[in-house]
Symmetry: C2
Subunit: 319 residues, 2 copies
């Protein structure tokens, strides 16, 4: 009898896995450093290791399935295209290699897409048919649920929702293109804007981070905003306005019922959500689009792992 | 036995209807002026009239279904929200009224969404799972097919793909918001840019249209470009660049296999398609997105009507 599901997540820093029952209750977890510089076979070995640890004490014949999420464009075979921090994995089918190793049905997908599925099944989007999940952190990504199903596109590369051009004259994105939402509102961008403003002579409590020799991050700006720092509040509002414009595009294109925001920058809470909601209210093309709910995502740091569990359950006929 | 399908289209100028067999072969057609100023009940009367004409000589019990497309946000009941040229229809369910009148299952939708469905079943997107249709004319709209199904969103308002912000400092769109694709690349916008450039002293054969007292349109610019007019070519390329940027956003969000372009402006052909394809090639975030085909739509002026027929066939269990 099938009793367990394994969800795994391959990140640039950590590889993680959990084991849950068929209702998504977490029963075991494991993690290990990725050490990507050691190359694809070493990474695969460590993926096997954490999955093995998550399965410890169980019979593999009782595992319904395994799913693994990974960053950037990932096809359904679990091949990573252009992984910025995980070179050398383009020719490797994670799906096939894991399935061969454990002899358990295995699935793979982009971590943002899986996170959306996790929100739908276990998180803040349960019962909805039309849902967008956006993570705003070092980068901006996400996933789309439309008519109750995950939208992965022709080969699994869809929902790169941080890579919308919002300003053709804007800063260059990590992907090399100008003016993407990610380049205007990600954590590192908020920090970069803070440094620019300080260099221009703005006065702010953020200055103390630099004076103490600390690296300025999106979180430093958010913390300062919470303490009422005016420059920090202004920068958060600026980022929120771009996020709001990106959400308006997505609302016009997909008409979701709800949008969930996760990732480090979303931890700023109402300081970010309030100006995002205001921008959406003001900038939709018609009042018919004003009903879309914009809320914090659930599941915290396990969003990707629970998304992988949700993928197994979605793809398994048992369910 | 069910033998016929009725597709209808409510436009600001004309109401049209066709009757086809279950394979989409056209057997009858009818049209009438909308005369929207006479109000919703008069419009409904004329809708009944053209549908009646398209059904002439058949037994209504042999009609599988009727579908009607209409511009702007339209819900599944066929209520028109914010119809710019069709005031007063917000409270009227076209679906219900037509169904009551003819006693035949009736469906309704946005004309751009239906056109995408028409391309999928009868046009230039047959056999595909992931398809975007964009019409570029007086406005810019379209429809999305994802995983083989029409994406209509929570209430039927999705796929307003002309209303993406591409330049926050851009011209004001017909919807009232700044810098939308529609405000940067629709026919009237291309004409407006031409007038601006002439006023700034640009030299062009387009000037003769003004001198002859003719209204300058997108088509005048396209015609001049075909004859090698440099300003006209520059303006088309400018519009194509914005269209390309809008398509790149859609490619990143939805990863279609093919994008089909229709509408009056698309008649410019390669003068428009070549710079669009170049922009897409240059501006996608990763080479994995370069394989998307960008081609002319099929079905000409009947695209909306054939889309309505496709909607009946999609929604009818017979099929």
């Amino acid at each position: 009898m099938k009793r367990w599901v394994i969800g795994a997540d391959l990140g640039g820093t950590l590889i993680r896995a959990i084991r849950t029952d068929l209702d998504g209750r977490k029963l075991a977890r494991a993690e290990i450093k990725t050490q990507a510089q050691e190359g694809p076979e070493a990474i695969l070995g460590r993926i096997f290791e954490v999955i093995g640890q998550a399965c410890e004490g169980t019979d593999l014949s009782e595992v319904l399935g395994i799913a693994i999420g990974a960053p950037g464009p990932v096809d359904e075979q679990g091949r990573l295209f252009d992984p910025p921090n995980l070179p050398g994995l383009r020719e490797v089918s994670l799906r096939e290699r894991i399935q061969d190793r454990f002899q358990v049905p295995t699935f793979a997908g982009n971590d943002g897409n899986l996170a959306a599925l996790g929100q739908l099944r276990f998180g803040a989007g349960q019962g909805l048919e039309h849902l967008i999940y956006m993570t705003i952190g070092t980068g901006i990504g996400g996933g789309i649920i439309s008519h109750g199903k995950l939208v992965i596109g022709a080969r699994g590369f869809a929902a790169e929702i941080g890579h919308q051009t919002l300003d053709p004259d804007g800063p260059i994105c990590g992907c090399g293109q100008p003016g993407h939402l990610e380049a205007l509102a990600s954590g590192p961008n908020i920090a970069r804007r803070a440094l620019e403003r300080l260099d221009e002579g703005a006065s702010s409590t953020i200055e103390q981070y630099r004076e103490a020799g600390n690296e300025l991050t999106g979180k430093s700006v958010t913390d300062a905003a919470r303490h009422g720092d005016e420059l920090a509040l202004e920068l958060l509002t600026e980022a929120a306005t771009y996020i709001g414009l990106g959400l308006v595009n997505l609302i016009h294109i997909l008409e979701p019922q709800r949008i969930l925001l996760g990732g480090g920058v979303s931890q700023a809470g109402e300081l970010l959500f309030e100006p995002i909601r205001q921008t959406v209210h003001d900038r939709v093309m018609s009042p018919v689009f004003r009903g879309v709910e914009i809320q914090p995502a659930a599941l915290g740091k396990d969003v990707g792992l629970m998304g992988a569990v949700a993928l197994v359950l979605e793809r398994s006929s048992l369910n």
